[in-house]
């Protein structure tokens, strides 16, 4: 098992670098990988004796690097928060979208897009993106809080009620989102639709910077929750008998996961199946210990989204597919396969 884990980490990190290099290289303008290394090296103060193409440098700096970074961040966020949410809810099928986090985030984002608050001039400045990211985080947090409060009885939250409340919140947010789209003009409608299917096309340095804190904090803190999430698998009462402050740990994990998902939804829309697929795949390879599943999920999520984005940019170029379509197409068959194969093991 130790060797398997080591192998997985090495594989994921290596694959991540290769995928990122390919993603920076391929597209409407092809940039040789060697050139990418030189340009990145120059930025770091190396290879000063070489000259690089300014055109390549421009494309890389303005388009490709932010896009790859956004893919890495959003993928890592969705992967790790999927694992954390499944752990908290003691349900291997739980996903941020299931308990209304994504729906809450999307509802707030749609409201902001349609209302076109004056600060928010055409999604172009950093402040606008912060506003969108923060709005989505607030929506996600509000939804999570609502579900959490509804499901609390006698100072404890009941997982079954929480999941059912999540379904209700999803339906409500879905209906309100639908209602608001009637008020949108054509351009806004196109924005909303494209963004509901998920896309990294909005990647700029501003979007990357605007979500950076919302994603780096959960990425830094969630992997420390491994032992806590493991004991959660025993049940909330046994977890507390093992010395875990169940309610405060649960609240912290939900806040961190909400933060990551909200920020991701704000800049890339609802990209489904990553948060569901990634933890399952990791568990099949290295087992269920969260100490390793959490960091590995972040890595695999980043890898999966980078590859999916590469596919959706290049498959039918110059037209771009929404990334949510790709992840769903790749995700559902594998997910169904896992489901059927491990029906007993997951006790669904």
């Amino acid at each position: 098992m130790v060797r398997k884990r080591l192998f997985l980490y090495v594989f994921l990190v290596a694959a991540l670098f290769i995928a990122a290099a390919f993603s920076m290289s391929l597209g409407a303008v092809k940039i040789p990988v060697r050139e990418i290394f030189l340009i990145l090296g120059k930025k770091a103060g190396l290879f000063t004796q070489y000259t690089v193409s300014e055109r390549f440098e421009g494309v890389l700096h303005i388009v490709r690097i932010p896009r790859v970074l956004l893919g890495l961040l959003v993928g890592a966020a969705l992967g790790i928060s999927g694992t954390a949410i499944q752990g908290i809810f003691r349900n291997p099928l739980a996903e941020p979208s299931l308990i209304g986090i994504s729906a809450g985030a999307s509802l707030m984002a749609v409201i902001i897009i349609v209302m076109e608050i004056s600060l928010f001039a055409g999604l172009s400045n950093l402040l606008g993106y912060y506003l969108l990211a923060f709005g989505a985080f607030a929506g996600a947090g509000l939804a999570a809080l609502l579900v959490y409060q509804i499901s609390r009885t006698e100072g404890k939250s009941n997982v079954a009620t929480m999941l059912l409340a999540g379904i209700a919140i999803n339906a409500l947010a879905g209906a309100l989102t639908g209602l608001i789209t009637f008020a949108a003009d054509d351009q806004q409608l196109r924005n909303i639709t494209f963004w509901m299917l998920g896309s990294l096309a909005g990647a700029t340095w501003e979007t990357v910077l605007s979500i950076l804190p919302f994603i780096l904090i959960p990425l830094a803190l969630l992997p420390r929750m491994g032992k806590a999430l493991n004991t959660f698998a025993l049940g909330e009462v046994p977890a507390s008998q093992l010395g875990l402050k169940v309610n405060s740990v649960k609240r912290n994990i939900v806040i961190l996961a909400t933060m990551a998902v909200g920020a991701s939804v704000a800049v890339s829309g609802i990209i489904g199946f990553v948060g569901l697929l990634v933890p399952h795949t990791i568990r099949l390879v290295i087992g269920v210990d969260h100490k390793h599943v959490l960091p590995a999920s972040a890595l695999l999520g980043a890898l999966m989204l980078t590859l999916a984005d590469l596919l959706c940019r290049t498959l039918i170029a110059p037209v771009e597919l929404p990334i949510g379509v790709i992840t769903a197409l790749l995700g559902t068959p594998l997910f169904l396969y896992i489901l059927i194969k491990d029906k007993k093991k997951f006790a669904l």
């Binding site: 752990g87 003691r90 349900n91 291997p92 032992k227 493991n230 004991t231 959660f232 698998a233 025993l234 049940g235 009462v237 046994p238 507390s240 008998q241 093992l242 010395g243 875990l244 402050k245 568990r283 087992g287 269920v288 210990d289 007993k344 093991k345 997951f346 006790a347």
Partner: protein, 263 residues
Amino acid sequence: MLTAETITYQIGRRSLLKDISFSVRPGELLVILGANGAGKSTLLRNLSGELKPLKGTIQLKGKTISSYSTKELAMLRAVMNQQNIVSLPFSVAEIVMMGRYPHYKNHPTEKDLQIVEEVTRLTGISNMAERSYPTLSGGEQQRVQLARVLAQVWDIPNALLLMDEPVASLDIQYQQQTLAVAKDLAKRGFMVISVLHDINLAAQYADRILLLKNGRKWYDGSAAEILTAKNLYEIFEIDSDVYTNPRTLKHFFIPKDVHLNSI
């Protein structure tokens, strides 16, 4: 020392425990007996700190249970629950190691590993250490949980061990073994409190017995004085013959046939 004083617990207006007082010394194995709904599990959950009594106090090692932090309590007492559903397919070894979680931060120490190894051997699950928990039988799962619970307080002097029907789905060999382990822990200075259903097991192993009925303490004393045909009739409404094991001089009970004359 564990001291419970006039514990009353109720849900809504229905009281589940009324004025229960008793104490347990280090070295004692106390068995709680009573009919279904007598309040055995509720009492245990009050003792573990999971539920807070409406009235009365529970003191563990000179401090009330509620004044300990969750973490401190985890270093003083372990609980073996009735229900043991694990939501992810952990391996047996991983589950037993969770018993040591309160004792280490990131990596188990040599001592943690050694304790896990010891309790794994004691509960007879060494050969299934790498197996996935959900694939085990009910009895095997129960032994794994016992190992986890033992690991938690194995190295703590005079720790409190609470067990809610620890032998419910075990075969006769492991019923005996589990109680023998409990008894042995008591000999080493633990305070062991176990809810049991099997009167003969209780008679065989208990140092003291607490008989509950309708949420009240009915009798409290040694197995020899408490477990009589008369008392069993009072609590369970069954007639039974009492025999004495000629070797151990302990009592055992054989219930008489029940005749249903209402049908």
